[in-house]
Amino acid sequence: MRGKYLLGVLVILGALAYMIFGGLGQNLVYFLTPSEYLEAQAKYQNRPVRLGGLVKPGTVQYDKDRLELRFVLTDGVAEVPVLHKGTPPGMFKEGQGVVVEGRFQEGVFQGTNLLVKHSEAYRAPEAGWTPEDVRKLIQEAK
């Protein structure tokens, strides 16, 4: 009886462990800057990631009738074109820090969720942005 009981517990624990680690592996969403993405493109192909960076000035195109927002996300070194279906959030503007959730398809990052990161404290460095600066900006912003 005791053995049978133990077996039951083991089966439950096993199922649980499988669910947790299988599920976690598939559903981890990495937070990346454009340079980090470009370094290991194959790894992130067709899986959801959160891409953080700045909206490159002069690249924003919004078509309100088709509800398509296109812009280039940059971290000062690497750039990624983004297509977001939907209206831009209230604070969205050029040079703004944003996080886009979505996945890469055919060279364009298809955003499903667009978050504007606003930080009062962090100012642009004199010599231009580096990926590290961008990362810090996005992480420190609330």
Partner: protein, 643 residues
């Protein structure tokens, strides 16, 4: 007398009374002297009074616009409506801690009036006073609601717009705190029982206290879901946000205890489990507060951040260490019967305990996994909602299965006639699932239909059984309603089944559409025909509102809005939700023509059955109230009253 002076004074008094109470309660236990206990008991109403005065002082400062208080300057503005001013004490960290402290003293006062043997009474009071020392200590030092400013501004900024955008904010935090704080009493009872080695008798009283906390926690969570639905403008009610998860943990553990306690009462088993569930449920409330207040994990609740993170972490570790330390002694001394017949009520409840703790473990792991990955691999990750949904669906289904069959199974071993009921239940499950599949629902949704039918039948069978038993005993069948615990739990079980069905459908079938409409342009989507009549701006004093006027064929004129608060850079959506028993129609204004008001981008989210989630929430609260209603315990009341 100024509010600041009165407030600081009463916080200091509350802290002093709590310290004194803690000392007296400990002395009472160590010396075995009833006079100390009497003194400690007398301090409970005094602490309550001090905390109440401090709270009133804060309200006084807010109502008289006393901007010399830092808290008032940061969270209040002259133009705030009265109801917003009245709920501003819990709009930010310091005031919330004051509210927490006040409720803590209230619970401690009620607990001190409950009859209990002097040994345990001293320890219960010692634990509760100890918790109060922490809260009032935090208030007196790092998070004082009564800190003054040298140069008071003429007007403040007002509370966070997210909080003043919906009246639910007056309700949700108070209910949550009542639930969180309520779990401290079971914890105190558990510690007292573990120290005095009274491993059996504590369960009955503790169950009652836990049920109170559970009822508030449930109501608070449903209220929070509703707030999220109506204010955050995403058309959902649960996002597996870290703070949602953190408050889900104590709920799961308290639910588990409410069930395993039955086994200890009936059969004396599960002693270690019960101590563990109560201890961990309380620790989980502190962990949740730590998460909310520290900003360790990004969350929608980040507005509540403050310097108290480390203090809460320390207190969490202390309480957990105390609980687990005592628990290890219990597990050495108690030999629980661990082998049950699988087809018995205790078997079902044991399995349920596994499911509840498994679920809590999964949610905990998913919530903290990003921290682990960052610490060990350096990568920044987040665990998506799909993970939580994937693991929760099978666990939830398992629990729903147990919920139906468990109460029907007799203790020890199932008799033959029980199996007839089981076959009926399985038939209902199969029938419901089949019907769902035939109607073209997904497998998950069909299974939810089956499980709902299965549980409804189980509740009906139990009800019929109760009524029949009364009739056979020559009593009025209505007298079954006097079995409050049974009837109340059946109401709650039915509500849980209903909520599960509503969640399954609203998560599976959700329709979203968005379009930019020009003035006069019509749009037909999801069975609704609408046309944009115009966009207009309104000055409401504390905010600007922009509303799109949409004429619809089914709901008349619908006006979704955007609210612009001066203290917030981005507008807040204020959706217009049309609740119907079938579908919810959630209208959102996304964007509009700022120059001429000629166009507006509108989004419509159609979600089935969301309405029933709120109905189920109300039913769960009512069922809990039915069990707790004082009239239900005439025998118990007679026992305790002096003869």
């Amino acid at each position: 007398m100024t509010p600041a002076l009165l407030g600081n004074l009463s916080v200091a008094l509350a802290l002093a009374f709590s310290l004194l109470g803690l000392a007296l309660a400990l002395l009472a236990y160590l010396q075995g002297d009833g006079r100390f206990l009497k003194g400690a008991k007398a301090l409970a109403p005094l602490t309550l009074l001090s905390a109440l005065v401090a709270f009133v002082a804060l309200e006084w400062a807010l109502l008289t616009h006393d901007f010399s208080l830092a808290y008032v300057a940061r969270n209040h503005a002259l133009q705030d409506p009265l109801w917003v001013t009245l709920v501003t004490p819990w709009a930010a960290l310091e005031g919330s801690i004051l509210l927490w402290g006040l409720l803590q003293t209230l619970y401690a006062f009620v607990a001190s009036r409950k009859p209990l043997d002097p040994w345990r009474a001293s320890l219960v009071l010692a634990v509760l006073f100890g918790i109060q020392v922490f809260f009032f200590g935090v208030m007196a030092t790092i998070a004082s609601p009564f800190q003054t400013l040298p140069n008071p501004p003429a007007n403040g900024t007002g509370p966070n717009p997210l909080l003043q955008d919906h009246w639910m904010m007056a309700v949700h935090p108070v209910l949550m705190y009542l639930g969180f704080v309520g779990l401290s009493v079971p914890f105190a009872y558990a510690v007292a029982a573990m120290v005095t080695r009274r491993y059996q008798s504590w369960v009955e009283e503790t169950r009652w206290w836990t049920l109170i906390a559970w009822g508030f926690l449930t109501a608070g969570k449903v209220a929070g879901m509703w707030w999220s639905y109506e204010v955050l403008g995403w058309g959902g009610y649960w996002a597996w946000d870290p703070v949602e998860n953190a408050s889900f943990l104590p709920w799961l553990l308290a639910t588990a205890f409410l069930h395993t306690a039955i086994v200890q009462q009936a059969r004396g088993a599960f002693k270690t489990w019960n101590f563990a569930f109560v201890t961990l449920a309380f620790s989980a409330t502190l962990l949740g507060t730590f998460l909310t207040r520290s900003g360790v994990i990004q969350s929608v609740h980040a507005f509540a951040e403050g310097p108290v993170g480390p203090a809460f972490l320390g207190f969490f570790l202390l309480a957990t260490a105390l609980g687990l330390g005592l628990l290890s002694r219990v597990s050495r001394e108690v030999r629980d019967v661990a082998v049950f017949h699988p087809f018995s009520r205790e078997g079902a409840l044991l399995l349920g305990a596994f499911f509840f703790s498994g679920w809590a473990l999964v949610v905990l792991l998913g919530t903290f996994y990003p921290l682990l990955v960052e610490a060990f691999a350096g990568a920044k990750v987040s665990v998506g909602a799909p993970f939580f949904n994937q693991v929760s669906a099978p666990i939830g289904a398992g629990l729903l299965l147990l919920m139906g069959v468990g109460p029907l199974l007799p203790w020890r071993r199932a008799r033959k006639e029980v199996f007839r009921n089981l076959y009926l239940l399985l038939a209902a499950l199969a029938l419901g699932t089949l019907l769902g599949l035939l109607r073209g629902y997904t497998l998950g949704a069909s299974l939810a239909v089956g499980l709902f039918l299965y549980n409804t039948l189980a509740v009906a069978l139990l009800f019929a059984e109760g009524v029949r038993a009364r009739r056979l005993a020559g009593l009025s069948p209505w007298s079954f309603l006097e079995n409050r615990r049974r009837v109340g739990s059946l109401i709650v079980h039915f509500a849980v089944a209903l909520m599960a069905l509503a969640i399954a459908f609203s998560q599976t079938y959700r329709l979203e559409a968005e379009k930019t409409l020009y003035k006069g342009q019509a749009w037909e989507v999801a069975g609704v025909r609408m046309a944009l009549q115009g966009v207009r701006a309104l000055d409401e004093g504390r905010r600007f509102a922009v509303e799109a006027r949409l004429s619809t064929d089914r709901f008349g004129e619908v006006r979704p809005r955007l609210h612009f608060y001066p203290q917030m850079n981005s507008p807040l959506p204020s959706p217009k939700v049309i609740y119907t028993p079938g579908n919810d129609y959630y209208f959102l204004l996304m964007d509009f023509d700022r120059e001429k008001g000629e166009w507006a981008s509108v989004r419509l989210v159609v979600t089935p059955m969301v309405f029933w989630i709120w109905v189920a929430g109300v039913l769960m609260a009512l069922g809990t109230l039915y069990i707790l209603w004082p009239a239900s315990r005439p025998e118990a009341a007679r026992e305790v009253s002096p003869a």
